[in-house]
């Protein structure tokens, strides 16, 4: 049967094919909303999960593929960095001798960011709740937005937050109580 023959060839192809990068990355990707059908996975699923869990995902690249000219790649690289990412903001913590700087684009959500801040400043920030803020925890993360106002981290959707955040300040829990109450 022709179809079977095609798949036979396919298997041989995979076995003998020379690749310079991680193979089979095509079959494992998360499908975007417009295309929900998963293609048959040639790769074992365990590798899928590993790739998806590590964040940010390593961009496995084959040399010279896709065939985009170096000049264009460099321009787009600069573009991506300035348009969508490289959002570096200063982070201060009350009582700390110096400030730090982080790239908000590196984090995928609030949980990710807060965990990183906790590690960076060796503090405990606690869990966000809409009603109580970070009540009960030692520290509360706040940020200065585009309008110059000091806001509690976590109120707005993540995407909105990273584009409006100008700098971060980790306040002592006692001071932050004032913010949470409003």
């Amino acid at each position: 049967m022709e179809r079977a023959a095609v798949y036979d060839n396919e298997l041989n192809l995979k076995a003998t094919e020379l690749r310079l990068g991680l193979p089979g990355a095509d079959e494992s990707e998360k499908q975007s909303s417009r295309n929900n059908k998963r293609s048959s996975a040639e790769m074992d699923d365990s590798r899928d999960k590993d790739e998806q869990e590590s964040a940010p995902a390593p961009k496995a690249q084959v040399v010279g593929w896709p065939p985009v000219r170096s000049y264009r790649k460099n321009i787009l690289h600069q573009k991506n960095e300035s348009d969508l990412s490289g959002i570096f903001v200063k982070v201060s913590m009350d009582g700390a001798p110096y400030l730090r700087k982080i790239d908000l684009k590196v984090y995928i959500n609030y949980q990710d960011l807060l965990k990183a801040l906790e590690n960076m400043f060796k503090c405990s920030i606690g869990v966000y709740s809409e009603r109580e803020g970070y009540d009960g925890s030692e520290f509360a993360p706040t940020y200065e937005d585009k309008d110059g106002d000091w806001m509690l981290v976590g109120d707005v959707p993540w995407d909105m937050f990273i584009t409006s955040c100008k700098r971060l300040r980790i306040m002592k829990g006692s001071e932050a109580k004032g913010l949470g109450c409003l």
């Binding site: 192809l13 295309n35 010279g64 460099n74």
Partner: protein, 591 residues
């Protein structure tokens, strides 16, 4: 360029040839008449044919050729060229293999223009034009260029490297009659923009000025004065450092422009400035081409609307526009023939193209994020189909996407059967039809069966030998074929080599084609410009055999560091009348 079929001593001038033996000459025309007639021939193909007719015609042709086109700088040597053609005023030279654009060719591979220029300085003092593509050009070479040719007028450097803005300083300073300075797609050492200020204050002959790919800031006052002085300026493409209000001032000086490349399209404009910019654009009645638009903020796009009606080429490939703002813009461009966009416009944007641009002939959709393995945003097969429905004149496409189906491609070529250039890049290597899971063989089968005028094809996706059987059987006008991560066996490549009579350039990477495939094209390669094969299954032994049996081919091999001794990791084969090149770096093995 054809080799002379009857090698002979070259004669000094047409009037000497056979003048005392005119009764024995086969040609019924006196030499000067023949020369006059041939001087009207412009096409290289015609001239090659003419030169093969007989000795007299060969001679007359070589004396009347003024434009030299060399598609592979190593296919011939400066000495051979200088001996054969005494009257050259315009030279086009192409160097590195195309895959060097994608980092597959190491630095210092070659294609240095230096020795060509040294020869030209000796033999062609009246040289006027030099157009280089993928060549290495040093500042020293630019210095020679600037000083050795008093009548020099046009310099075009596309995808070249090796020079810096210092070299451009020489050109600006010394070339009194320069009409064209066109620098494209170049990553060079951009020390500073001072080169532009080197054009003398009384210099005003520029017609084409393109410095869009140079990063550093130029002296705006000097640029404004230059633009004012150059009354014949028709092409101006500035770089990112030029702001919107500066652009407006330039447009006031040069409303006659036909091609404009803007600078950065993002700036906090005062309300008055917005209106000024708008009227500056609407004053440019001759604008046919628009490009640039870096960092574009959509709120300023409306200033372009008035100028869009006459546009035939719109290059938005550096402007990350979304579908809505792009749709609004494209609605003003009914006369567009060529469109380059980023895939940020998505399928919806392409639907707008289909409904707004019925005259469209060429579409290129570039990926904004080609290495995004997870989100796969951009365009899909639906966008391509939408364009094909609305634009029946479409014949050139370059399309980057993450998914495609056989059915979609079949529909596309049914809507647009006149494709001459079909370059489809499904960005995950070896991806099948995402709906049926079958290989994409039938898609490309449909392309070659339906599009009989097809000259250039780039294939992608999961492909078996069947694709190449189709190509060999149907693509009778195919000249350039690019293949990556495709095929099942040697048979695939063999089908192409046996079946495509007009094939000139074949570039292959990461395919399971081996020695049998390579050697099946023994006699074909002399009729082609070049063959590139990398990361395939070819051994050095087979390459040596090829080199032995075909002495007029140069067979060059580059090895990857970690590979097996017998593997020929990168093979570049090309015909040459100049023999093996003498400037090959140590990592290039010439067999």
């Amino acid at each position: 360029m054809q080799t002379d079929p009857n090698p002979k001593k070259s004669k000094d001038s047409p009037s000497n040839s056979d003048s005392t033996e005119s009764t024995q000459s086969a040609s019924p025309f006196p030499d000067d008449v023949l020369g006059k007639v041939l001087s009207f021939l412009n096409s290289d193909k015609d001239r090659s044919s003419v030169s093969l007719v007989c000795k007299d015609w060969y001679n007359a042709e070589r004396w009347t050729r003024t434009k030299l086109f060399i598609g592979n700088c190593y296919s011939v040597s400066p000495e051979i060229v200088a001996t054969r053609f005494p009257k050259i005023t315009s030279v086009t030279l192409k160097g590195k293999p195309r895959f060097s654009d994608f980092n597959l060719v190491p630095q210092n591979w070659g294609a240095d223009v230096h020795y060509w220029l040294v020869m030209f300085a000796k033999v062609y003092p009246f040289l006027e034009e030099l157009r280089l593509k993928r060549m290495t050009v040093s500042d020293e070479s630019l210095e020679i260029l600037a000083t050795a040719f008093p009548g020099f007028r046009a310099l075009s450097l596309m995808s070249c490297d090796g020079f810096s803005t210092d070299g451009l300083k020489s050109v600006a300073t010394h070339c009194r009659n320069l009409t064209e300075l066109d620098i494209q797609d170049t990553d060079i050492d951009d020390f500073n923009g001072g080169w532009l200020s080197c054009f003398p204050e009384n210099f005003g002959s520029l017609e084409v000025l393109n410095f869009a790919s140079l990063d550093s800031e130029v002296n705006f006052d000097a640029l404004e004065r230059l633009v004012s002085r150059c009354k014949s300026l028709r092409v101006l493409k500035v770089n990112k450092s030029i702001t919107l209000d500066q652009l407006q001032r330039l447009l006031l000086r040069a409303p006659q422009l036909m091609e404009l490349g803007t600078g950065s399209f993002q700036q906090e404009l005062l309300p008055g400035q917005f209106g000024d910019l708008e009227s500056a654009f609407s004053n440019c009645k001759n604008l046919r081409t628009l490009s640039g638009l870096w960092e574009v903020t959509s709120v300023y796009l409306p200033v372009l609307y008035a100028a869009c009606t006459s546009l035939t080429f719109l290059n938005l490939s550096y402007a990350a526009l979304r579908s809505v703002e792009f749709g609004n813009l494209i609605a003003y461009c009914p006369n567009l023939r060529r469109l380059w966009v980023l895939d940020t416009v998505e399928d919806k944007g392409l639907e707008a193209v289909g409904s707004s641009c019925p005259l469209l002939e060429e579409l290129r959709v570039f990926p904004a994020d080609p290495f995004d393995q997870q989100l796969h945003r951009g365009v899909t097969e639906l966008g391509f189909v939408a364009v094909s429905r609305g634009c029946s004149k479409l014949h050139y496409v370059l399309y980057f996407c993450w998914q495609m189906t056989n059915a979609a491609v079949a529909t596309i070529v049914q809507n647009c059967p006149n494709f001459t250039h079909f370059r489809l890049c499904i960005m995950n290597p070896g991806r099948p039809d995402y709906l049926t899971n079958e290989p994409m063989d039938e898609a490309f089968g449909a392309v070659v069966k339906t599009c009989t005028k097809l000259q250039r094809l780039s294939v992608s996706g999961l492909l078996t030998d069947l694709t190449f059987e189709y190509i060999g059987k149907h693509a009778k006008n195919l000249e350039t074929l690019s293949v990556a991560f495709a095929g099942s066996s040697d048979l695939g490549m063999q089908c192409v080599l046996e079946g495509c009579p007009k094939l000139r350039k074949l570039e292959i990477r990461d395919c399971p084609f081996g020695n049998a495939a390579l050697l099946s094209g023994l006699e074909k390669y002399e009729k082609m410009r070049s063959l590139w094969m990398s990361s395939c299954n070819v051994t050095i032994t087979a390459c040596q055999q090829l080199a032995r049996e075909m002495p007029r081919l140069n067979v060059e091999v580059m090895k990857d560091k970690e590979s097996d001794d017998s593997q020929a990791d990168k093979v570049y084969v090309y015909r040459s009348v100049a023999g093996p090149r003498r400037d090959a770096p140590p990592f290039v093995l010439t067999l």
